[in-house]
Amino acid sequence: MTNGQNERREMTGAEMVVQALKDNGVKHVFGYPGGAVLPIYDEIFQQDEVEHILVRHEQGAGHAAEGYARSTGKAGVLLVTSGPGATNAVTPLQDALMDSIPLVCLTGQVPTSLIGSDAFQECDTVGITRPCTKHNWLVKDVNDLAATIHEAFHVATTGRPGPVVVDIPKDVQFAKGIYVPPQTAPRTSYQPKVQGDLEKVKAAVELMAGAKKPIIYSGGGVINSGPEASHLLRELVDLTGFPITSTLMGLGAYPASGKNWVGMLGMHGTYEANMAMHDCDVMICIGARFDDRITGRLNAFSPNSKKIHIDIDPSSINKNVHADIGILGDVGRVLEDLVRLWRATAKTDKKALYPWWEQIAKWRARDSLAYKMNSDVIMPQYAIQRLYALTKDMDTYITTEVGQHQMWAAQHYHFDKPNRWMTSGGLGTMGYGLPAALGVQIAHPDALVIDIAGDASVQMTMQEMSSAVQYEAPIKIFILNNQYMGMVRQWQQLLHGNRLSHSYTEAMPDFVKLAEAYGGHGIRCDKPDELDDAIREMISVKKPVLFDCRVATLANCFPMIPSGKAHNEMLLPDEATDEAVANAIDAKGRELV
């Protein structure tokens, strides 16, 4: 992406930063100024190719950049000052690390001569962010700056994507040096393997061809690999006729309306998905990592299956679960080979899968996502179903906070495309969804961007409503307000004798007034029969909206695999009496999270 005029010019470090952003195709930066980044802000002021989005808290910048990245497939960029600016960015960095989101975080630092002197707003940024980044750099020489930023983009976006930090002392921003354009020769110690071993792919095809009870289990890696990977995944499913489930992070890679879809798996996944995982004879894990929310009790996880695991990260293969065939490579590339080899060598015998599909139909008939409707009170599941019904035909992107509402969103909002679903999976960060929605909206100004929120989570980063108003980003914050930290309350009911220690919010703000105070639009609804109109109003308002959707306060999120239990020991909604809930987890399971 070089253009001739940038070839090796002399410029200041601050100029280099902006030039490097342009040369790496950056259009938007989320940030917050401060003493240690003022030279860079001065450069930003003097150009208009890179647009800076001013947030209200650096955590907001990070999550906005994550939403931007997840919804576009490009790196998200944030710019923060030294000390508190950098430490405020730590949560989104760790969040991006766990969900493999490409972020480039530029931090200001005190001048090199003051490093180590406990100077004002000094912190050991590379030390603090070392464990929560894929890699980080402290740039002490202006002549290394451009190359370092280019490398930062390369590392963040290739291999298993992740967050990186470039820490830039203030004197380096003022110093003059030679700018070098992005280079194609990356460092020799960093060369992710993208092409899978063909022999192993062959072995996988063979194993799959002989399967009687197969299941495809796909994850966020398919989305990270790009739209082509999702396309190939669909092709593979069509070719093989296999059932497919997905993790929370992978929703949308295979369409929820597809006929082989059995729903999300894991702790709050569908009964049919988890039972199929448990009883399958061949499991094909594509770009997922056998996380503990997925496997349930490990020593009872899918006991009779052979497992194929495709992943770009060698440390993911054989980490939690033994892979009979582990294929290291980019999911998209491996799927390409897999599809090609399947076409060439395997004969699809869809009839042989009939008994398996029949069994799955029986599990599906348990209707594990069912809930009791209520005509006086809005059930949270109903709210999501209505939201889905009224927005599914639009250009919609969904983000979430963390809690019950997040799981209900995953269960009842259905995704037919990748990159439409932004949620904090690995870290489970409350406060993610609102700023993430801002980031998505900045990337897709004309889309309908909705944060399905919880009343507690949304208060953690509420200040970004102000940013949304400033940038006329009409994000819709759809709060399932149950007055509780519902997920915490549910666990207290499950594990702690229903003693609801500090999970009730005594002093809830008036979200409608709050919306108005920010210059947005507030809506409140507490009647099921008024919900549709209220949602339509939310969609039609061209402003940021806080929608206070008052839902049943004590609803629990089912189905659920209680901690320490196996896939075939799910707690189903129709069996979840108070007694069953109170006794669902035994003493051993209590230690688990």
């Binding site: 590379v126 890699h135 503990d292 490990l298 020593n299 299956s305 060698p314 440390s315 679960v321 901690s563």
Partner: protein, 190 residues
């Protein structure tokens, strides 16, 4: 088929360990740049792996390469994880489990050597005995006056342990050990 393994990255499933932990020696070739050792050490502490010995020094100045030798303990599965986790670190070029490699070469273990400086103070019989034993261990005297010796001794860790134990009653003052340097036998590099 029982396909389950002990997860290392998660505190959530505290399952019983079935494989036996064993000592392994790893060689890690890294770019010699600021923070690289912190990355390696941080990985071990952050993921709960232990370090029994750590040695690091630049080995190829022109290429800015350093070689880190780590002795650690773990089950075969944990060792595989440690290796892959190390490989993920951007400035890491190569990771070789010398112990596994030596088994592949039909050997019991890689070549491992450690150096120690051992200061012993005393007079009379103890002093004579210390010098006699040092000789038997092929330790050399690198500093001395009438009241003390500093011995330099090189060898396997167990030999150093033994030498130090013997010196204890003879006026042992202080010890400094380098940690293990190791490579595999035979003509091939790592």
């Amino acid at each position: 088929m029982n396909a389950q393994l002990q997860p290392t990255g998660s505190a959530y499933f505290i399952a019983k360990e079935t494989e036996k932990p064993e000592s392994h020696t790893l060689s890690v070739l890294v770019d010699n740049e600021p923070g690289v050792l912190a990355r390696v050490i941080g990985l071990f502490s952050g993921r709960g792996y232990n370090i029994e010995s750590l040695t690091v020094s630049e080995t190829e100045h022109e290429k800015h390469l350093s070689r880190i030798t780590i002795v650690t303990r773990g089950t075969p599965h944990v060792m595989e994880q440690i290796k892959h986790q190390l490989e993920r670190i951007v400035p890491v070029h190569r990771v070789v489990d010398l112990t596994v490699r030596s088994h592949e070469l039909g050997q019991e273990r890689p070549l491992e050597r450690e150096l120690a400086l051992v200061k012993v103070a005393g007079t009379g019989d103890a002093r004579v005995e210390a010098l006699r034993l040092a000789d038997a261990f092929r330790a050399s005297v690198i500093d001395a006056n009438t009241e003390h010796f500093i011995f330099e001794i090189t060898g396997k860790g167990s030999k150093l342990d033994q030498f130090i134990a013997i010196m204890k009653p003879l006026g042992l003052v202080e010890i400094c050990r380098t940690g293990v340097a190791a490579m595999n036998r035979g003509p091939q590099g790592m």
